[in-house]
Symmetry: C2
Subunit: 304 residues, 2 copies
Amino acid sequence: MLPVRYLNNDEIKELLSVEETIVVMEDLFKDLSDCQMPPKVYLDIPNGDFRAMPAVVKNTAGIKWCGVHLNEGRTKRKVNIFAKVIINDVATGKLLLLMDAEALTAIRTAAVTGLATKYISGGSSEVASFIGCGNQTKYQIEAILNVRDIKLIKLYDLDITQAEKMAEHFDNTVVCDSVKDCVEDADIITSLTPSRVPFLEYGWLKENSHINAVGADAEGKREMRPSILTGVGVVVYDEWEQCSHSGEIQYLDEVNSNAKLSSLEDIVSHKKIDLINGNGITMFDATGLAIEDVAAARCVYEKL
Amino acid sequence: MLPVRYLNNDEIKELLSVEETIVVMEDLFKDLSDCQMPPKVYLDIPNGDFRAMPAVVKNTAGIKWCGVHLNEGRTKRKVNIFAKVIINDVATGKLLLLMDAEALTAIRTAAVTGLATKYISGGSSEVASFIGCGNQTKYQIEAILNVRDIKLIKLYDLDITQAEKMAEHFDNTVVCDSVKDCVEDADIITSLTPSRVPFLEYGWLKENSHINAVGADAEGKREMRPSILTGVGVVVYDEWEQCSHSGEIQYLDEVNSNAKLSSLEDIVSHKKIDLINGNGITMFDATGLAIEDVAAARCVYEKL
């Protein structure tokens, strides 16, 4: 009955690799002038929210409709996420594709982390740490492996069995007992938790390391302690409005920060690439953008 | 592959009658306290726009994603419209249904016109006029027939063959040569054009008649000449923010109006029903609301 093809998560995983999605995101962030992205619209419900994320990327218009629900399970809190993406041709309005967007979201988020890491982290980075071993982490690890020659992967999760499971997917992994252990000799730290209590401390970090702050994507969420916001030399945000409301930098006014700020677009298009070097520890603040979903979905469409 | 049922326009028409949708809309507008509806989000493109319309109605969250494209055809301008609706359960986030929403939109729009006409127009209304005989008009006529004992249906369209075609669907119809002819003895006038040039004149109208101003639903669209906005005694809007930006009342500041204003919710819940009588010509300003789509889609879901 459906007038176009509907792709489920398994089909998306089959069609879309992290590696090529990094290229798609690089093309996207090189020039955002042909894009439109109004602020995400949130509908609050008692145990979570629904979000509408419309965007136009060049010849493609689309929307992600997703929801986050916290349900109290028997033993612990469980987060249910659903997401669908619809894309249309801009010129004609023609519907192109409908799809499950949980896998799409995980892959495009990881790809953007990879892109930021490629442009921001030190070229000789060898140790990569990951805090939080949920559904997205496998793709995030793949993304980092894709852009840097990583010799050691360090994993941490509040639930150690999650970290152990994740370790099975990759070579050269070590599971850590604490966040401090996990990050202290890391060149690249990717933080992937839904925390509302900041836990990462500046004093634990290696000189000139790079942090990907992926967890905080809504008001009240944070992973970086004030010492990080005070100490980092450079902060690169995916989108200013969204990050200043939902990302780690929503807390920037609370500290006395001298961090230099830049958009990912300016870094990728080389407008501000110079500020990366010699300014100490760097942080990429990722909140996840509707244009990323539309660009990734368009890539899927073109592969069919 | 699709995890839930997908309904096309023909199936929606089969499942959802105008008559029962009027009841659904009456239930909805009686009490909007359990609803959430952020402003529609517009993405402008060279030949039209895309719109995201998310909403929560009680236990259902949903979004309409639609587009309006003006394409220059061989002989005249052609409007292409597409619309999809997705609904989810609020408590669990579970996806309930995906559907084509062109028919759903036409039916719910007509039902709201019917609801407004039931509460606002004179009880002995016998002559109903319709300006513009496009896709929605058939449902709009059905809606009026449903709430008033109509003896004569008068039709007008710039393209007279459209009006003649519409006339074939109903008894007791007359096709008119001009807007003036069409409206001058009408008790109820329903205006359904995409006009940006106002054409309906107050001097043509019968005393105590009722206008349903359905056409204007975006900035720049208007059907009512200033004399109407000056002359009408009562204006009922579907939603204040949306109407004051997109409906006929976006032009209210241009005239010296003494019209009494009320929301459809206040009229249907009897909070302001008294202002209808004795205040001359009435107008319902309809822009179409996301809550109407979600409520209608939920009704479809419950019938499956």
